[in-house]
């Protein structure tokens, strides 16, 4: 075995043991996350904390709970934006909202909602279609730190320019600034926009379904999982959708490699909107 190869092998074993230990002690199961990006994020954390081997990091995390919090922040990629992929929201309004309009109650689940931008975007979309009052929005994430930010609905004012552009590109009809009040640093989303949203910690990998939904959005969460975990999670999502329910994925995600490919029909191929058919 050449030197590089030997190092790779050791590192691979270390990462496996580390994730196994984290799972056994804390119950967070990252063992089936996609390995290239998991490795990248572990190495990044090691660099920041100036430790040279995964085993050292493992020792820190297993012996001190505060390091588990650091690890969770490092491995859960929380990047998000309001109206991320504006055409997704345009398509949702045109193709999905008409299907929901006649329901007495609309239940929506945002899986992996991160700091909440996607959830407030959906609330705005529903409000502008006159459907917000009969909606109940559940928003969950594995990471409690980002959930607390989401709950507060407070975002740096510096982001509002980009979000306003996205809002306009999504062809929404109103004025974006009507949904928040701004002070000199932050934009605070109106109480009215928040009242229908229930925030909760939920781990997609280890927790079970908790309701039946008309819509599930799980965007840019499963890209961090390997194929077998994706299949497992799709089973949970499928089982949590009502008949004819809607599933929305991120624009680079696909059902193609899952056993659920034929259990949905495509509502919008490019924007990854699917409807449960059987």
């Amino acid at each position: 075995m050449d030197k590089e190869h030997a190092c790779d092998t050791v590192e691979k074993i270390e990462i496996q043991l580390f994730l196994e230990g984290v799972f056994r002690l804390y119950g967070y199961d990252f063992r089936d996350y996609a390995s290239a990006s998991m490795r990248r994020r572990i190495l990044q954390l090691m660099e920041i904390e100036k430790v040279s081997t995964v085993s050292e990091l493992q020792s820190m995390v297993l012996h001190h709970e505060k390091w588990m919090e650091r690890l969770l922040m490092a491995v859960s990629v929380n990047v998000t934006a309001m109206f991320r992929d504006p055409p997704f929201y345009t398509s949702f309004r045109e193709k999905v909202l008409p299907l929901l309009a006649s329901l007495p109650l609309i239940r929506i689940w945002h899986v992996g909602c991160s700091t909440g931008e996607e959830v407030y975007s959906m609330a705005i979309l529903l409000k502008e279609a006159g459907l917000y009052d009969k909606a109940k929005i559940y928003a969950t994430d594995i990471n409690e730190v980002v959930l607390n930010k989401a709950k507060n609905g407070i975002y740096p004012l510096s982001l509002m320019k980009e979000y306003t552009d996205n809002y306009i590109m999504a062809k929404c009809g109103g004025v974006f600034s009507q949904y928040y009040t701004a002070d000199d640093k932050n934009a605070v989303f109106n109480e009215g926009m928040r009242k229908k949203i229930i925030w909760a910690q939920h781990n997609l990998v280890t927790d079970s379904s908790f309701n039946e939904f008309d819509v599930i959005l799980c965007r840019n969460v499963m890209i961090y999982f390997n194929k077998s975990l994706q299949n497992k999670v799709h089973e949970l999502l499928y089982g949590s959708l009502k008949a004819n329910g809607i599933l929305g994925l991120g624009t680079a995600e696909t059902l193609r490699f899952t056993v659920f490919e034929n259990r949905y029909k495509e509502l919008d191929r490019k924007m990854k909107l699917f409807q449960k058919v059987m």
């Binding site: 790779d8 390995s35 290239a36 990248r40 990629v77 504006p86 991120g250 696909t254």
Partner: protein, 195 residues
């Protein structure tokens, strides 16, 4: 040498450079090719459509968990990092690296890790320093690294910084890169087996 993948990165001036590179790869080019081209979030027409018109190979925007298939060209979708796993791609929305998502460094580093000395990295024209660190990783792991000759590049900064970082095995003018790749990619097949 038996290579397994070509990874290429381009920034400013890259659309032209990539067209030249892809034009030179024949229909039976035996390796998969993965490309990061820096661009805006919503560049309208997909990059794959634009590049397809000049290539004999099938060009697709990579989707999450796509299998890596020889003779196919995969382009990182706008606003996602593209990573190479064991035989398939995964995507990530982690923060921009050197102001870019997709990042050339992320693609190259994951290729170095997954393919080791079977990776070929190609760094083309650009005005920033993305790609140099990733190319260095490929070189360190025994892969083959190529930079476009800065003199022939619309913007020589990007290949130039890889050369300065000693990350490059071969510096070639743009027109000669695809020929070199053809030669490297087929060399593994013994003479007698060629049809």
């Amino acid at each position: 040498m038996n290579y397994g993948i070509v990874v290429a990165g381009a920034s400013l001036g890259g659309l032209h450079a990539l067209r030249t590179l892809l034009q030179g790869l024949p229909k039976d080019f035996p390796l998969p090719v993965a490309i990061v081209q820096h661009r805006g979030k919503d560049s309208g027409e997909p990059l794959s459509t634009y590049l397809q018109s000049c290539s004999a190979l099938e060009i697709v925007e990579a989707e999450d968990k796509d299998k890596i298939v020889s003779g196919r060209v995969y382009v990182a979708p706008a606003d996602y990092h593209l990573l190479i796993e064991d035989g398939w791609f995964s995507l990530s929305t982690e923060p921009q690296v050197r102001y870019s998502r997709p990042s050339i460094d992320i693609l190259f580093e994951s290729a170095a890790y997954a393919y080791g000395k079977k990776a070929i990295g190609v760094l083309l024209t650009g005005a920033n320093q993305d790609g140099a660190a990733g190319l260095k990783k490929i070189k360190e792991r025994g892969g083959l690294t190529i930079a476009q000759d800065p003199v022939t590049a619309e913007c020589g900064v990007m290949p130039g910084s890889a050369i300065a970082a000693r990350a490059v095995d071969r510096v070639l003018p743009l027109e000669r890169i695809s020929g070199f790749l053809r030669e490297k990619a087929t060399r593994a097949i013994p003479q007698g087996e060629k049809i």
